[in-house]
């Protein structure tokens, strides 16, 4: 009897303790602290061909950091499909990493949550100052007029990757510089039994990156100057329709690509089934799929006419990864040191070479490795003809709503249904109505 009672008391106590600890989690709404100065947790985005590749690239650098500072960095590489959800969960619970990678287009959305440490002048001074970074990269770190929510880490730009052999076989000497040329070349390529251009029709983010550039080339924006969605502007409708028409009307994108969302178009290109690919910093990915660097050429993404540049000659989004510090960190000084380490000239060179990206740090860009013909195209695009995606709080909702609308339009095109100005406008109107009222 006594032992049963003891057991019962024990169980009750245990469950009470469990209840208390489970409820005791949650947000400590204050800023960061320096409670645990010897460790850091770092969430890296998946930049390499696989998570294992990322671990191989990053671990030696983290060991180097530990040697210099005595701070041990616990690395977790988070796949892209999970990253935003993980960050949202961390934001809600207040339990997250100390330092993390974010897609640079999320900067303004995440900035609005207040979960990330703002990079004011004082914080920037700790990592060597704001002017170490390229302007275009800084343009995608948060809403205008606010302290950046993150600092640039890797920069990328879209380029046209083309298969040299298929081009030669089809008698094409130069990669296309305008969309009309691209369509004409595409016909020649298709006549020889290859597919012309790849797309990831079911991937909302990819769709957004392209229709954004198409809109820029028509002098249009998805948001008004004061940050309100304006998806049904006739020029925006024209931009979206023109992109989908590459499949629906011009037929240079195969209908099968409408359901691609797992980078199948990159594989098609690597296998030599498809002649052209519009992609950001694809070299490392193509290499891992066994395509040799001599087999393909890199050219700027086409424009409507003329050559790439600012304004309506924009031919890429400012793509890239930013590094952010979680405001609830328990090692604020260590986190800042880590950001300084990762954006130092030496690390910038090592990491950007490994990922075939461009360093957003000016002094690191000078390294000859970033002046190969391929990297020169990407570097020039990034610095002269790339525009940042809208830096508004509802950016991530925009990606989902409009990206899904384009996905549905591709599905229509694939099923042989007509894609008209009216159907495009209706799809965009619906997307706009799903946006938050703010």
């Amino acid at each position: 009897m006594r032992s049963i009672r003891a057991a019962a008391t024990g169980a009750v106590t245990l469950s009470l303790v469990l209840a208390a600890t489970a409820c005791g989690g949650g947000s400590s709404s204050g800023g960061g602290s320096n409670d645990s100065p010897k460790t850091l947790t770092y969430w890296a985005s998946n930049q390499g061909a696989s998570i294992a590749v990322d671990q191989q690239v990053l671990q030696p650098e983290l060991d180097k950091f530990q040697k210099q500072t005595g701070i041990k960095v616990k690395l977790e590489v988070v796949p892209w499909t999970d990253l935003l959800n993980r960050i949202l969960t961390a934001t809600t619970s207040g339990q997250g990493p100390d330092v993390l990678n974010i897609g640079n287009s999320w900067s303004a959305s995440l900035q609005a949550t207040g979960a990330l440490l703002p990079w004011d002048t004082g914080n920037f001074a700790k990592i060597g100052g704001k002017d170490r970074f390229v302007d275009s990269a800084l343009g995608s770190t948060g809403a205008a007029g606010k302290d950046p929510a993150a600092v640039p880490l890797y920069s990328m730009a879209y380029a046209l990757y083309y298969n040299k052999k298929i081009f030669a076989d089809a008698g094409i000497g130069q990669p296309p510089a305008t969309w009309d040329e691209l369509v004409a070349d595409g016909k020649k390529i298709q006549a020889r039994g290859k597919s012309a251009l790849g797309a990831e029709g079911s991937n909302p983010s990819e769709n957004i990156h392209h229709v954004f550039v198409f809109a820029k080339q028509r002098g249009a924006d998805f948001f008004t100057a004061d940050g309100k969605p304006d998806f049904t502007d006739p020029k925006v409708v024209d931009a979206v329709k023109s992109y989908v028409d590459l499949m629906a009307k011009d037929k240079v994108i195969p209908t099968g690509d409408a359901e691609y969302a797992q980078n199948q178009s990159v594989s098609d290109f690597a296998k030599g089934k498809q002649a052209m690919l519009l992609w950001q910093s694809a070299s490392a990915n193509l290499k891992s799929q066994g395509m040799s660097e001599d087999a393909y050429g890199i050219a700027p993404v086409p424009v409507i006419s003329g050559t790439p540049g600012p304004g309506t000659q924009v031919d890429s989004m400012v793509a890239g990864i930013n590094l952010a510090v979680f405001k609830n960190t328990h090692n604020l000084d260590g986190a800042t040191k880590f950001v300084k380490f990762m954006t130092s000239d030496e690390e910038q060179k090592v990491l950007n070479k490994a990922y075939s990206t461009i360093p957003p740090v000016k002094s690191a860009q000078a390294d000859p490795a970033f002046s190969t013909p391929a990297n020169t195209v990407l570097k020039n695009t990034f610095t002269t003809s790339a525009a940042a995606l809208p830096q508004v709080a509802s950016e991530s909702q925009f990606e989902t709503a409009v990206g899904t609308a384009v996905k549905d339009l591709f599905a229509d095109a694939a099923a042989g249904r007509a894609v008209t100005t009216d159907s495009v406008k209706a799809a965009l109107q619906k997307a706009q109505q799903q946006m938050p009222a703010a």
Partner: protein, 331 residues
Amino acid sequence: MTTTTAFKEPVRHTTPGAAAREPRRRTGRLRRVSLPYLLLLPALLLELLVHLVPMVIGIVMSFKELTQFYIRDWSTAPWSGLGNYKVSVDFDAPVGQALLHSFYVTVGFTLLSVGLCWLIGTAAAVFMQDTFRGRGLLRALFLVPYALPVYAAVITWVFMFQHDNGLVNHVLHDQLHLTGKPSFWLIGDNSFYALLTVSVWKGWPFAFLIVMAGLQNIPRELYEAAALDGAGMWQQIRRITLPSLRPVNQVLVLVLFLWTFNDFNTPYVLFGRSAPEAADLISVHIYQASFVTWNFGTGSAMSVLLLLFLLVVTGVYLLFTSRGRRASADV
């Protein structure tokens, strides 16, 4: 076993010590009465913690304007009263319309899926009732879809449904020439049938298993007697098998309904985070309304509405079926 002997103790005493013993006995009885509850307490607390607390938090959230600006410290989110509910059920506005559309799709999908699962499961169980060579093997084979991990099974279907290299198009188009050109299964209108196929494939073995267990309880004599009276196979099924399975079916259909209606894994793995309109099931729709658009208040309101709907359906269903059963028991 001190407890039993304590009861047999003679109670009435008039000795001087009796008054002193009385309170002690009362605490003893209190202890006896309260011990079971004390033992239940941990389970009760954990039940509260695991089930009720999150549910209550969800309901509270549905009354808040919980957007990206407040998720960091959601106690600061402003109360929105019935605002989130109004948005969800305003069927003239896009959010309400989309929810209603998703609801219709889900109802249609659930009815078809549950119906087919039950039909195939019951038919297979009836056919497997008689012993024959290889019955055990077939039974085991039938249960495979149910035993496979959902993700692995559904991702295999994704490969099979692919437009360019998928097995389904290879068979339907390349070999049987049933379609003029390869069809899309994962986007557009066909996605509904793709989803239904996977759902039935995954769900019918459960129906098969339950009905098979139910069939074991039907006495063989009934069939023998019926056969002597000249009843054919079809009549035996209609007059003996189905009525005997009634209580089993009552639970089976309810469970299948709830599982299918709430199924999240199948559509999510099949279509990713933005499902095609034709296969926009309500669970994924709510997920999208909250996680993808970062509006957790509206998402919670939709979840509460879904909960209420399922409660009503379950209540009405149980009321009707058990009344029917009681009526047939009276006869």
